[in-house]
Symmetry: D2
Subunit: 344 residues, 4 copies
Amino acid sequence: MVTTHQMSTAAVYGAGGYLGGELLRVLSAHPDIEVTQAISRTHANERVGDRAPNLDRFADLAFSPADAAVDADVAFLARPSGEAMQRVPDLLERGVRVVDLSADYRLRDPSLYARVYGRPHADPSHLDEAVYGLPELFRDDVRRARLVANPGCYPTATLLALAPLVKSHEIAGPVVVDAKSGTSGVGAEPTSTSHHPEVAGTVLPYGTPEHRHVPEMTEILRRLDGGAPPRLVFVPHLVPLVRGILCSIYPSTGPTGDADRWSELYRRAYGASPFVRVGPTPRLPWASGTNRCYLSLQRSGSDPVIFSALDNLGKGGASQAVQNANLMLGLDETAGLRTAGFAV
Amino acid sequence: MVTTHQMSTAAVYGAGGYLGGELLRVLSAHPDIEVTQAISRTHANERVGDRAPNLDRFADLAFSPADAAVDADVAFLARPSGEAMQRVPDLLERGVRVVDLSADYRLRDPSLYARVYGRPHADPSHLDEAVYGLPELFRDDVRRARLVANPGCYPTATLLALAPLVKSHEIAGPVVVDAKSGTSGVGAEPTSTSHHPEVAGTVLPYGTPEHRHVPEMTEILRRLDGGAPPRLVFVPHLVPLVRGILCSIYPSTGPTGDADRWSELYRRAYGASPFVRVGPTPRLPWASGTNRCYLSLQRSGSDPVIFSALDNLGKGGASQAVQNANLMLGLDETAGLRTAGFAV
Amino acid sequence: MVTTHQMSTAAVYGAGGYLGGELLRVLSAHPDIEVTQAISRTHANERVGDRAPNLDRFADLAFSPADAAVDADVAFLARPSGEAMQRVPDLLERGVRVVDLSADYRLRDPSLYARVYGRPHADPSHLDEAVYGLPELFRDDVRRARLVANPGCYPTATLLALAPLVKSHEIAGPVVVDAKSGTSGVGAEPTSTSHHPEVAGTVLPYGTPEHRHVPEMTEILRRLDGGAPPRLVFVPHLVPLVRGILCSIYPSTGPTGDADRWSELYRRAYGASPFVRVGPTPRLPWASGTNRCYLSLQRSGSDPVIFSALDNLGKGGASQAVQNANLMLGLDETAGLRTAGFAV
Amino acid sequence: MVTTHQMSTAAVYGAGGYLGGELLRVLSAHPDIEVTQAISRTHANERVGDRAPNLDRFADLAFSPADAAVDADVAFLARPSGEAMQRVPDLLERGVRVVDLSADYRLRDPSLYARVYGRPHADPSHLDEAVYGLPELFRDDVRRARLVANPGCYPTATLLALAPLVKSHEIAGPVVVDAKSGTSGVGAEPTSTSHHPEVAGTVLPYGTPEHRHVPEMTEILRRLDGGAPPRLVFVPHLVPLVRGILCSIYPSTGPTGDADRWSELYRRAYGASPFVRVGPTPRLPWASGTNRCYLSLQRSGSDPVIFSALDNLGKGGASQAVQNANLMLGLDETAGLRTAGFAV
């Protein structure tokens, strides 16, 4: 086929992990982005097809080593926090746009980063430039960005649920966020927490006394609120599922919340966003493997409760990174992201 | 063996259901109570061993029909709400002690019962006499009772977690109770909610806008508080497990809660209760098949969070009913209930 | 966009069930087939988007009633066996190509159909014309077919695994096929077998003394063998998963099987088939939501064992039906079917 | 209470692992055996109650270090293969009876042990004395034994299912054994195989080309057969469950097997064995936490198939070890083992 269609090129760091593998999966069906480098410290020089037989489009692509020179329109960094800030300066200098899936560029204040992640920030000069990659809230900024900090899975689910209320100063707080997550968020490395006999028969609260995502969420809520955001009481739980997050969110507004006005706020906030839907009680398979977030506004007695569901590897990770890259590259926001989720 | 040991006798209504089956299972190893009648509308005249090969002690016992004349020291009523209030007057008249596992005698106010359950109460005259069967809170009343209303699974987990605080007026409210439950609470009858493909791949919030257990919990909290109990925001979720409930409980006390004083309140409340343990983050297998409730007091940021875990068929159902019967019959509270739960 | 691209049209019967819903899901991203009718007895006149919020491309399409007049290039019949044979004569007469996902046209002999399904066949005159829709074995026949009998999920997994050996008369038999299936194969209707508490904690063998798929598999093996096919000992088991089938297949060839020759047989059989891969031990997520079947040839001691994995709703159902329709309509065999499966 | 009841004493090696923990759990309710030493290399000097809050009878018992001097009537060795043979000579010399839950004393031939386990046997002089601890087959030998080799979980399920047929030379072979196991058999140490995201969404065959349990099973079948036992084709699979093994066993006897004669063989073999039941299709919860094995004889077409179900930590591990100890100590075989399993 003769075509004048010009594909953008992409490099994926951490391609041997769960987020990196999901990036390859999503990009394997992308009409406009071609993966030219799949970088993996552990699997360098192995064929992608041997590690991931599900990805037959990349059957013969060899993993590049961690120090490979990257030449691509966009680089996805799906590596643990701490590594991106070592790589970003050089990538930006080479003219490579960056979507970082780690936490390195999510907080603007380097001293807060140091407190939360236990090490100084190695690249504070780019913190102000980094755009928080939640396109439904910051779409225009993402379009212009060279460097996008892709949000964590919990913050994506929580912030999409709370943004319309916080922007309109509808809630005072505290807001209880009780999150239930599948185990793929733990990553590909075995741990005692994710050992099947330990986690398959229980619901496991963790992250007390404070989960690392709380400062990230609070900072974004502050930007939305423009002042004093509601206090979050955030407790994540592992549930015996692999993919998916459901957040049950309890704003302390008491019996006076106005259901109709709230519905209207959400309609206005997300009417133009193809990946956020407000409707009935969500089911995780609807979101599985997709870039969708399903929201539902309900009442428990006279109190409001909001449910928010997404795939932690999808809208909470890899596919949101592709959405960001689409915007940064001037492509259709939904390119490569139109697959529908499962009924079951 | 010649023995003067006198066994008490028991009849189990609803012996073909999950709660009734669990009653038979627990009683099959009870040293002082002997099941003489296993009553089942559906399985009348079948052998218990044919329906439940796990219960080989009862292999040759035949299920009695629903209208069997009961002659026993205690009757367990493990039937849907609405049936117990038809049977209790006659049983009491015959001198049979009753532990009702349905909701029929949990609310003292017949008009509240009518509102919540959608039908008038058929036996209002015994509502005042009925003792709420949470022995850790009402042990002496249970000892003297002819009629015990065995609590629901969610109220047991929630009330044991909140009682020490409410009695001491430590919390104002609202209190968010986010409950995660296995599916056996649905009962043995197939429904679309409990259809495996529908529930196995998700976390399913339900019970909005108001779950039937809320009035029950609120009534007991009112008795404990002596006045205006904290408002509960209670949302149950089905998780892909069979047995077990974990409640994550968020009291709105703000950053001023006093951890040491709270720990002392729980120690004092449950020090003499063999089935309630306060300690680290609980795991559901510890409670599985047992009469135990595991509590844990923790903090999320500066806010308190309490975790409460039990087996909905055990401490949240059948084994608590046996604990109540033990007390009513003057037996050791722990008789037949000493089996330890699983590590995994 | 001005385009001369002509979409083929499709009607989906049984669009409210699991197979019908998966057909809608797959077709929602199909570049060349447009669903013009989603037919559902139960949900007639409801909007698809209200029943299936995951299918937002069809948000505003209304379900048609069961007796709707169908005008489409192809009709997918995803209804229980017994109904297709009532509809097919009329559809063919109207010039509509048919892919039947039920068992009605899988057996050529109407008396065998009557024995297996307990009713006479209502349309024996089309049995000879119907093509068994396993494209990897009968691709040219499918291309020319007006009526395709889409195989069952177990037969697809089993026949793809055994065909190269049976065609080459490599195995005598009996062949043990121990199949493990997720519960979505049960369908959307709740049953006691698929009640979550019953199936989530066990592996449940069923289908003894003879599963309905055995005659189907035996008939196809006979065609491949040209004479006396190996006897199958087929036992399906429900496992606590929603999607996916793994068949472990034990051919009785004894210690003399030649691994190299066998590998070569499979390479030759499936080298040109984009949806069958022979490789390492398969994992069900690789197949999830896709049209892929993963095969692996291994040894247990000196005996051969073959593993075959697919998604019962995908290659074992809806996506294979789309593959058949692609061939019948002269489209690219892989159109709409290129999404990669999950790593986890 | 004044009592003349004399408790036997027990030491448990490997008390911090899954099998060791299950031994403590079972023994915590044993009327005649008291655990006096819980030995754990990893947790020495910690309190059992801190590691295992489910075991409140042992809340204040401290784990002993690995080199503790053991003074007990019986020692349970729940440590990886290779360690028992280092400890047994000394224990026997001190007059301590030993139940070894590892593989060290299951094979009589030290050269076979060296081939299977990849190291020379360190205590070949006790191999002949060791009794294979399957009481249903070797009860009298166990009663007289000083050293019992507790069988593996797969061999227990397989041998109980096949013994009556092999003893009577009813089957020639090969016999396909397709085993499905929960993940607790992997042990408490995290591995990539047991990482929840990897195993929760699939059925994972493993152990090809030969599982270590095959020589063990073959050796016992040879003893039962008295000559040339049937060849086993054994393939284990991990299923997404924690506890439980179901073996589906396909003897190659062809269509001539005699169902009535077979039933009679099993009745005779197990009529006096309280822990083996022959009946309908077994369910794993029936066996969970118990010492029971459930067998079922069925047909697939004209071929026989046998299902065998047990708890790999129970009858396939810890509770069988207690059954063996009961016999060795002259106690009732069922002491401490009478708890009934779950319906669900």
